[in-house]
């Protein structure tokens, strides 16, 4: 399956999962769907029949609240049956709102509290470098998550140790939990910050699959860790969800669900 089709399916699954389960964060899933689709369709090296294969590329979703999108990507990539997605957020399910590895093949690491993924990813990258192993480590962060100081501890560490095998992807949709990022804790000049911390920065349109594939695939040129700053639209693909704080929380029901699904099917 190509990444365009995978992204469409991730969006539709996540819309249905959050609607049926009554959970939040559909806007955050729609925002990152293209990044995740490109990673699973074209970039990451993995084996669905051997999820813990030692040479797999590691992927950590640090913005764990968008877990529905990862479950959808894993199911569509062949890690477990797609039917299981319908249990999301239900009593007795293995698929919690924030991504968890327990009983779910393919989930590298459980998150949900922000600011945890990058330090762990840096540890994995540091270990791989020590052992001279070739796999890479990808960590997907939200922009609001970059308020967490633990990320900046890891950013310092990764640069100091020249972890060229580490890629931090920021889903930069510019809206965080209560308000726009710029009105909450401003990150700009964001590219400059990463550069000043000695990372190799690649700025891309986070919905352009060709661009994403190119920057996610290309090894570090400088030997420095790589930051992919992906400019995205929160709620991407559903017109009335785009660029709103509301759809960080709201669950699509009834007519809203039907309209959203129709838009995603047309896309």
């Amino acid at each position: 399956m190509d990444s365009i089709e995978l992204a469409r399916r991730i969006r539709k699954h996540a819309l249905r999962m959050t609607s049926q389960g009554g959970s939040s964060h559909i806007g955050a899933v729609l925002s990152m769907a293209d990044i995740v689709a490109v990673l699973y369709a074209h970039v990451l090296d993995y084996k669905t029949d051997e999820p813990r294969w030692a040479n797999r590329d590691r992927f950590i979703l640090s913005k764990g609240h968008a877990g529905a999108g990862i479950y959808a990507a894993l199911a569509e990539s062949g890690f477990f049956p797609v039917e299981k997605l319908d249990t999301h957020y239900r009593d007795g399910s293995l698929l919690s709102g924030h991504v968890s590895h327990k009983g779910i093949p393919g989930v590298e690491f459980s998150t949900g509290s922000l600011g945890h993924g990058l330090p762990v990813g840096a540890g994995m990258a540091f270990g791989a470098k020590l052992d001279e192993r070739a796999h890479r480590v990808y960590v997907l962060l939200s922009d609001g998550e970059c308020d967490e100081g633990s990320n900046w501890e890891a950013i310092l560490f990764a640069a100091h140790h020249q972890l060229g095998n580490l890629v931090a992807v920021v889903d930069y949709n510019k809206i965080q939990s209560l308000a726009p990022v710029a009105d909450t804790i401003a990150l700009e000049p964001f590219v400059d910050k990463w550069r000043a911390f000695n990372w190799e920065v690649r700025e891309v349109d986070g919905h352009d699959h060709a661009q994403l594939r190119a920057v996610l695939d290309a090894p570090s040129e400088s030997g420095k860790p790589v930051c992919v700053l992906a400019h995205t639209t929160k709620g991407k693909g559903v017109s009335f969800m785009e660029n709103t704080v509301l759809w960080h929380y709201r669950t699509a029901k009834g007519d809203e669900y039907d309209r959203a699904l129709a838009e995603l099917e047309r896309s």
């Binding site: 690491f109 459980s110 998150t111 762990v120 501890e153």
Partner: protein, 310 residues
């Protein structure tokens, strides 16, 4: 205890390349030997305990046995969520090591008093919590933790009891060590304050004819329920002694376990910290005296128990 720990770890790291020691920029004068003998197994992560614990988890999940190290509450409370969500929830082989339990760094002030860590760490699911009483236990615990899978907390003290192990003694995680036999009263301790228990027991034996059983409950979790049940049944009471708040520490753990089992000791006393922060300034020895945790205080408490048992 710190020197015993590092000496043991140097030996073990030579045998097992999976061992990695990460410090959050502390250990001056102690870690140089490790860094020199095992440069590829040593990492200074800087003054960044959250990142240190995350790094440790990432490294452990790919097969290493990782020790994180700092002093007092820095490697524990500062990064508690990383220990909980990252290391413990993933069953990662991360061994969190803190030097400076209780009032070890007494005169440095409240920021450096590790007096709630046992309660907090033992509440985390899957965590193993070990607080040795002397250097022999430190060495044995270090070795045992490497063989013990999962996330563990090793609480090291500046003070230590004099050697008391006998030939053939076995250290086992989760099994209290019988340091001294006796039936008049049990003193159960956790950590370097074992030395106070031994001093008090000497006085009680020589001056009052009271013979205490002394248990070094080096593993606060999982608790050795069998040894404590036996103490409840066979001795005149249990006095739990810890350089830690009485809320949820060793004494609390013993009380919970025994009450649930319906094993009620004749007398039961928790000796630990009560009330507010220990804001007095002074050495470990001085603060033990100020806060009622020195040998005379233990003797007085034991005599009170003995009077009730007459």
């Amino acid at each position: 205890m710190r020197n015993a720990f590092i000496a043991e770890l140097i030996e073990l790291a030579a045998q097992d390349p999976r061992i990695l020691l990460i410090t959050a920029d502390l250990g001056f004068g102690v870690f140089e030997s490790f860094a020199k003998s095992h440069p590829k197994q040593f990492l200074n992560a800087g003054v960044a305990e959250q990142n240190m614990t995350g790094l440790a988890t990432g490294l452990a999940l790919d097969g290493r046995i990782v020790f994180t190290y700092s002093i007092a509450n820095f490697p524990s409370l500062r990064c508690l969520e990383q220990i909980r969500n990252d290391a413990a929830y993933h069953d990662a082989n991360v061994k969190v090591v803190s030097i400076g339990s209780g009032f070890s760094y007494g005169a440095l002030g409240v920021s450096h008093h590790a007096t709630e860590d046992l309660a907090i760490l033992r509440s985390l699911p899957t965590l193993t919590v070990v607080s040795p009483g002397d250097e022999w236990e430190v060495r044995q615990a270090t070795r045992a933790l490497i063989a013990h899978p999962g996330t563990c907390y090793l609480r090291l003290d500046k003070s230590k009891a004099p050697p008391s192990h006998k030939p053939g003694d076995v250290f086992e995680i989760g099994k209290a060590r019988l340091v001294r036999a006796g039936t008049d009263l049990t003193i159960a301790t956790c950590g370097g304050i074992l030395e106070v228990a031994l001093q008090a027991a000497d006085t009680l034996a020589k001056e009052h004819g009271i013979h205490c059983r002394i248990l070094s409950v080096h593993t606060a979790k999982p608790l050795d329920v069998d040894a404590l049940r036996a103490a409840a049944r066979e001795t005149g009471g249990i006095l739990a002694l810890e350089e830690h708040t009485v809320n949820g520490g060793l004494g609390g753990a013993i009380a919970e376990s025994l009450l649930e089992l319906g094993e009620i000791p004749k007398r039961f006393v928790r000796m630990g910290l009560r009330g507010g922060f220990a804001s007095a300034v002074g050495s470990q020895e001085y603060l033990r005296k100020v806060y009622g945790l020195d040998a005379p205080a233990v003797v007085a408490q034991a005599l009170d128990i003995a009077r009730h048992n007459v």
